[in-house]
């Protein structure tokens, strides 16, 4: 049950929420270095969770016409176009033969049987020819924080901690107060604006980590649909090890700016259930650089408010002293 670290610090969130013998904590490791920006995750999420469209507008921000996570977008692919940087070979699979390739017939030389060994194929990716430009693509999602501010501040108990350590909204309990919206340090959860008559209009919504699929042993729709394994689903403990190993590979390849985001259990939100391997500062992708769960300061806030309340009582009493 609620312990010393219930408001802040490393805990097992499911156990802290009172689950007895919960299964291992589940989460996402999103490796943005292999994201190709196909948006299969966005579409799969919309399909599985029956999310309505976000409007059909061109935002003028590269290929991102979704904009941000919200009540109708539970996976969001960010597109960042960066110039002025030397790119690094990440060891991605590409076209063309592997390095010690047997010679291929040169185009137009089809009639000649057996070209001279050592002739280069016309398509090569020599480092010097790479443009001074890179794409950053990243599929963003609810972080399913160890200390979730949205869950902390919900006055109805609509938001709850699942046995998998994730955070889910119960739409039939949510009363639409909207308090979770400003509480989230990542700007994930949102009140669905409409249309009027939709039973979910006015209700706060966000990624459930496909709670329905998890309960029947399936992996979330976005991870299932990701063609490059940029989105990996599994036990958080194991995913953290996998992420650390991948980070080592990228660092060894000279990708000095690679970093893990949300994988540290002693960060401001106690570590996130969904964490990321990023190739630049978090804010480049629209993520906060050092998010802290607001409830960390709550005891202090209540102390200040109590002092203010006592001061008001004393002030009112004092105003009755003296003449009429």
């Amino acid at each position: 049950m609620a312990g010393r670290h219930s408001l802040f610090g490393p805990i097992d969130p499911a156990a802290d929420a009172g689950w007895v013998d919960p299964p291992p904590r589940k989460g996402f490791f999103t490796d943005t270095s292999v994201c190709i920006g196909c948006k299969a995750c966005e579409v799969a999420c919309k399909e599985w969770n029956l999310l309505p469209d976000d409007g059909f507008e061109l935002l003028g921000s590269s290929y991102d016409n979704t904009g941000a996570l919200g009540s109708t977008t539970w996976r969001h692919v960010a597109f960042v176009e960066q110039g002025g940087r030397a790119s690094v070979d990440l060891g991605m699979p590409g076209l063309g033969p592997p390095a010690p390739a047997p010679a291929a017939p040169a185009p137009g030389a089809g009639a000649v049987a057996g070209a001279p060994p050592g002739s280069e194929p016309p398509v090569s990716a020599a480092p010097a020819e790479r443009p001074d430009f890179r794409w950053l693509m990243s599929s963003d999602v609810c972080k399913h924080c160890t200390h979730a501010a949205c869950l902390d501040v919900c006055p109805t108990g609509s938001l709850f901690r699942t046995e998998f350590g994730t955070v889910v909204v119960q739409p039939d309990v949510c009363n639409g107060c909207g308090y979770c919206v400003p509480a989230c340090p990542y700007g994930v959860i949102e009140r669905r604006p409409g249309p009027a008559g939709d039973p979910l209009a006015g209700i706060a919504q966000k990624c459930t980590l496909c709670y329905d699929r998890l309960r029947s042993g399936a992996e979330p729709a976005c991870a299932k649909a990701c063609p490059t394994d940029s989105i990996q689903f599994g036990d958080v403990e194991e995913l953290r090890e996998r992420a650390a190993a991948r980070l080592d590979v990228l660092r060894a390849a000279g990708q000095d700016e690679a970093r893990l985001y949300g994988a540290e259990p002693d960060d401001g939100v106690g570590g996130t259930g969904a964490f990321f391997l990023l190739l630049d500062e978090p804010e480049v992708y629209g993520l906060p650089p050092d998010p802290v769960v607001t409830t960390k300061d709550l005891p202090h806030m209540f102390n200040r408010a109590s002092a203010a309340a006592v001061a008001l009582l004393a002030g009112a009493a004092l105003s009755f002293l003296g003449r009429r």
Binding site: L59, S61, D64, A68, V80, A149, D152, V153, C154, P155, T156, G157, V173, C174, N175, G176, C177, G178, Y179, V181, P182, A183, C184, P185, Y186, G187, I189, R191, G202, E283, V284, Y285, G286, L287, P288, P289, T294, T295, D297, L298, H300, M301, F302, R304, A305, A307, A308, A309, V310, A311, L312, L313, G315, A316, A317, L318, S319, G322, R323, R324
Partner: protein, 322 residues
């Protein structure tokens, strides 16, 4: 624009700011004018209940009556604003499913649920002496008035203070960074508003405590607000810009003018009424200004990213090099 917080050591270089197409990082609260109106009315009700309780104990019937009636009217208004904000009155009951100490809104709901009935009863008890009310009912009401009024007075301070925690317990930069002083701003604002309302309604002979509460509240509000801006760092900027800036300037002006008028000529009814109206308007402007500044700070990613970057840089310089 205000200068940066005083005496910050300049060891950390200014944080560089980048963002994703200038989009907000945190989401602004989906709250319209209902919420600041609700906060203003709640503060007015709380301060009025305090004045009424004091007036009851010190035999000032006119001040007692105006306090109790103002409290009930303001409470009714704030409840209507809250239900309008929810948009689904039937779902208000979901608030009653749980008591949750980590949710200031849950705590506030229960504080209001405890405060509302005695405050309402105390106001209804003012009907005791009114001709046309049956004598038996009048006697019951007369007996209940004092305990109900005193209970409402004791429960009133939390009503005035909790809304500050409600705003601060969010990731909205200008609300969260204000958490140390915002409760003091809000309770002083409540005192000034309640004093102002009483100045409008009560003859000068009984309005002494209201004048003192109004002036004390106004001065405390101005002081607490100045301290708050200094401790907020760069997140104080939205309090000076745009619509929020205009509201905060109006709040300061109206509050100071109301206090000055009360001090100079608060015993003359027309001047007292003018002072009371200025104090009420100033208190309302404070709530609307603080709410609007927070929303503006959430819309601009700078107020989320730069302080966090600075915090990281400070932690890096402080930690021993490993």
């Amino acid at each position: 624009m205000s200068p940066r917080g005083g005496g910050e050591p300049a060891v950390v270089p200014d944080a560089e700011f980048t963002s994703y197409y200038g989009r907000p990082v945190v989401k602004p609260a989906p709250w319209a004018a209902d919420i600041p109106a609700y906060m203003f009315a709640g503060g007015l009700a709380a301060g009025s209940s305090l004045l009424a309780a004091g007036a009851d104990l010190t035999s000032r019937p006119a001040l007692r009556r105006s306090g109790r009636v103002t409290a009930l009217a303001a409470l009714g208004f704030s409840a209507a604003a809250l239900v309008h904000d929810l948009g689904r009155p039937s779902r208000f009951l979901n608030m009653m499913r749980t008591v949750k100490l980590t949710s200031p809104m849950s705590v506030g709901t229960w504080i209001l649920a405890l405060y509302g009935p005695p405050a309402g009863l105390a106001a209804v008890a003012e009907l005791a002496g009114v001709p046309g009310v049956p004598r038996r009912l009048g006697r019951v009401l007369g007996a209940l008035g004092r305990p109900a009024g005193l209970a409402a007075g004791l429960l009133a301070p939390p009503v005035a203070a909790y809304t500050a925690v409600l705003l601060s317990d969010t990731a909205t930069p200008s609300w969260h960074e204000a958490y140390r002083e915002l409760p003091f701003v809000f309770v002083s604002s409540a005192a000034a508003a309640a004093g102002g309302a009483a100045l409008l309604a009560v003859p000068a002979a009984q309005a002494g405590p209201a004048r003192r509460l109004a002036v004390g509240g106004a001065l405390a509000e101005l002081l607490a607000e100045a301290r708050m801006e200094r401790s907020m760092g760069m997140t104080a900027e939205p309090l000076h810009q745009g619509g929020a800036g205009r509201l905060m300037r109006a709040a300061k002006l109206l509050t100071a003018a109301g206090a000055a008028l009360t001090l100079l000529a608060g015993r003359r009814r027309p001047v007292a009424a003018l002072a009371g109206a200025a104090l009420l308007a100033g208190s309302a402007c404070t709530r609307f200004g603080v709410v609007e500044a927070g929303l503006a700070s959430a819309r601009d990613p700078r107020y989320t990213v730069v302080p966090q970057r600075r915090r990281l840089a400070q932690a890096a310089t402080r930690s021993p090099r490993a």
